[in-house]
């Protein structure tokens, strides 16, 4: 350490510097390689899915996106992505509608209302919820949530709301098995809750205290501070956090498969069974013959799911960019 700082020892440091810079260059390229490798891998996956799905896109064209058919019977094969795509998007959006208010409540409680000694254990518990494997949510959903949804939500609310004009059809269903779009949305809501709550709590904590204190000083209530100071300041990051949750909801497979009813046909009611892209692929892939139109259609579905998730995550990154240093 001390001899490198001596100016007269110029020759040895020079050689040492070249060795050092060679190591630096090597390290730099290794890191760059690792970064590029991930990008290449991502590109390769998209490309594989696209090439695999090409026969289906070629066979059905744009019809693949709009057709609600899914008929694997030999001789009259016809595949369309509409039902699983709608199922994926509807369950995810419903999950956001159910999950965000609760997540907001948790974040509000943890940052503004809770006494200091409560914040840490409750915050940790929320984060632990994110570590529960999805298959556990699936089993719990099937045995606990599905009968609950059927007996206490679908039967009382479905019957009443189903009598409403026009919108009634959304709630009116003659599916009595309990496995439904709504049950899937509830399971998803619980699964994405910790992500959204944790993001919201973190961004709420980033609001400079002086802003909040000024508002309190002017006589604002807690809710007025939240509505007038915290939310406007963090609005974009909150939306970004919600998008992150949406990204997870879109790709969730096992938990959804357990509770959605796996019916590849158009659902008119949120209490009807439906299916999602991820569960169709998981259910049908093992029995699809290599090079068959069915396998190609499943790969094409995978490509579409990739595309949808990619767009959602890209938007969330873009919205969160100011908060992600």
């Amino acid at each position: 350490m001390s001899d490198t700082s001596l100016p007269q020892a110029s020759a040895p440091p020079a050689t040492r510097r070249t060795i050092g810079s060679a190591g630096d260059t090597l390290f730099e390229w290794l890191c760059r390689g690792a970064g590029l490798f991930v990008l290449l891998l991502l590109g390769a996956i998209i490309l594989t899915l696209f090439i695999g799905g090409l026969p289906a896109f070629r066979e059905f064209g744009l019809q693949f996106l709009w057709s609600s058919d899914w008929n694997p019977v030999e001789g009259r094969e016809s595949y369309g992505a509409l039902v699983p795509m709608l199922g994926t998007i509807v369950t995810s959006i419903l999950a956001i509608m159910l999950g965000v208010p609760v997540a907001f409540g948790i974040a509000f409680f943890l940052t503004e209302l809770a006494p200091q000694w409560v914040r840490r254990p409750v915050g940790t518990a929320i984060e632990l919820l994110a570590a529960v494997p999805s298959i556990i949510f699936g089993m719990w959903g099937l045995f606990v949530l599905v009968p609950f949804v059927q007996n206490y939500i679908q039967l009382p609310f479905g019957e009443t709301l189903g009598a409403l004009p026009i919108v009634g059809v959304i709630f009116d269903s003659n599916n009595f098995a309990g496995t439904s779009i709504f049950a899937a949305a509830m399971v998803l809501a619980i699964m994405i809750l910790p992500f959204i709550a944790a993001t919201m709590r973190d961004v709420f904590n980033q609001v400079p205290p002086v802003y909040k204190e000024s508002a309190y000083g002017l006589g604002a209530t807690r809710w007025e501070v939240m509505k007038g100071v915290v939310l406007p300041y963090t609005r974009i990051s909150v939306v970004g956090g919600i998008m992150l949750g949406l990204g997870r909801a879109l790709g969730e497979t096992m938990a959804v498969t357990f509770v959605i009813g796996n019916a590849n046909r158009m659902a008119s009611s949120i209490f009807d069974p439906s299916t999602t892209i991820a569960s169709v692929v998981a259910m049908e892939f093992p029995e699809s013959l290599m090079g068959s139109l069915k396998q190609s259609s499943l790969l094409a579905l995978g490509f579409l799911l990739f595309f949808i998730s990619f767009v959602v995550l890209a938007v969330s990154r873009w919205l969160l960019r100011s908060r992600l240093k």
Partner: protein, 353 residues
């Protein structure tokens, strides 16, 4: 004390190890790998356990589904593939495969109707199709009541349950529905997964069994062994001869005894046969073996034939205990004869005895 004991047992173990390795029984243990259908998995596993001792063959069977089994054996990544839906002769020739049956299994209907006893409900083929087509939506439908005058059926909505994953069980069941109903044949049709007009999908035989148990008014179909193990309420069916039959080993065997095996690929068709005591939904399950194994895989093919030769001779009781039907004597001869098509790279038949 504890420590000393552990060390001694460890030393004993170490002393025993070289002796065990020297024993010829362990040195000759061969492994065969297979992949495919989940329908016969319980019986293959039982046979595999027994063969480890008796034949010194370890079976590594992965029930990844018939489609996966066909893919794997076509790529020659396993010693044999297993499928529920037989491959047509042209495809067998194209992929250089020989096909033979191993056991027969049956598909049964399970219901959840409180107060209705096992095998009490009688279903005609018209009622069965209409239940799964959504044309009968409540269990007190006049046609069901008409066919079941002696029992009380609760007035529940009908919830059909089907296999969400593509499966051989679905193939057999929808083949039956297509035989008994023209509307079903031209509508949803028969395949490992079809477009179900109504109902909910559950994953695997276990999933269907659970869904039916949890939903009053549900009706589903499953491989017979799962219904037996889970003590589910099964139904009677009216067969082609117009008789109501119960799903028992006797009615399964009645179907098996009427099968015509003189078909390419030994693809006997046991669905909806006529006969007084015949259960209408019975099907064999098949093994696919390459006719031209590469040099590395010759031993695997030989051991696969040894394994299935042995199961045909001695595995019958194990199969019957799981309510599968073993192959009749005459069919076993046909299976052994079909193996003569399996040749090593120099063109000689591979002997298995």
């Amino acid at each position: 004390m504890q420590n000393g004991f552990n060390r001694r047992s460890l030393m004993l173990g170490a002393a025993a190890l070289p002796m065990a390795a020297a024993a010829p029984a362990f040195a000759q243990q061969a492994t065969i790998t297979g992949a495919g259908a989940s329908f016969p998995r319980p019986v293959y596993e039982r046979w595999g356990q027994a063969a480890r001792e008796a034949l010194n063959i370890t079976l590594n069977y992965q029930s990844i589904g018939s489609g996966g089994g066909i893919n794997q054996i076509t790529n020659r990544t396993v010693d044999f593939g297993a499928t529920d839906a037989p491959l047509p002769a042209a495809q067998l020739a194209e992929r250089n495969l020989v096909q033979f049956p191993t056991v027969m299994g049956s598909v049964v209907l399970i219901v959840n109707l409180p107060g209705v006893a096992d095998n009490a409900l009688k279903l005609t083929s018209e009622i069965l199709v209409d239940l799964f087509a959504g044309r009968i939506t409540r269990w007190n439908d006049p046609r069901i009541v008409e066919a079941n005058r002696e029992i009380r059926i609760p007035n529940l909505p009908v919830s059909p349950v089907y296999r969400a994953d593509a499966s051989g069980t679905t193939f057999v069941f929808t083949t039956y529905l297509s035989r008994i109903s023209e509307a079903w044949r031209t509508g949803p049709g028969a395949a490992t997964s079809v477009q179900w007009p109504v109902g909910n999908g559950a994953r695997g035989n276990e999933g269907v069994a659970n869904a039916v148990r949890n939903t009053p008014g549900a009706i589903g179909y499953t491989e017979n062994a799962y219904a037996t193990v889970n003590r589910l309420v099964t139904t009677q069916l009216r067969n082609k001869s117009g008789r109501f039959v119960q799903p028992t080993l006797a009615t399964f065997q009645a179907a098996a005894s009427l099968a015509d095996w003189n078909k390419p690929g030994l693809a006997a068709d046991l669905v909806d046969l006529s006969g007084d005591d015949v259960w209408p939904i019975v099907s064999p399950t098949f093994i696919l073996l390459p006719t031209n194994p590469v040099a590395d895989r010759v031993e695997g093919s030989r051991n696969t034939m040894r394994f299935f030769d042995w199961t045909m001779r001695t595995g019958g009781d194990a199969a019957r205990r799981l309510e599968y039907i073993p192959l009749p004597e005459a069919v076993q001869g046909l299976v052994r004869a079909s193996w003569s098509a399996v040749r090593d790279p120099s063109g000689r038949p591979i002997t298995f005895a």
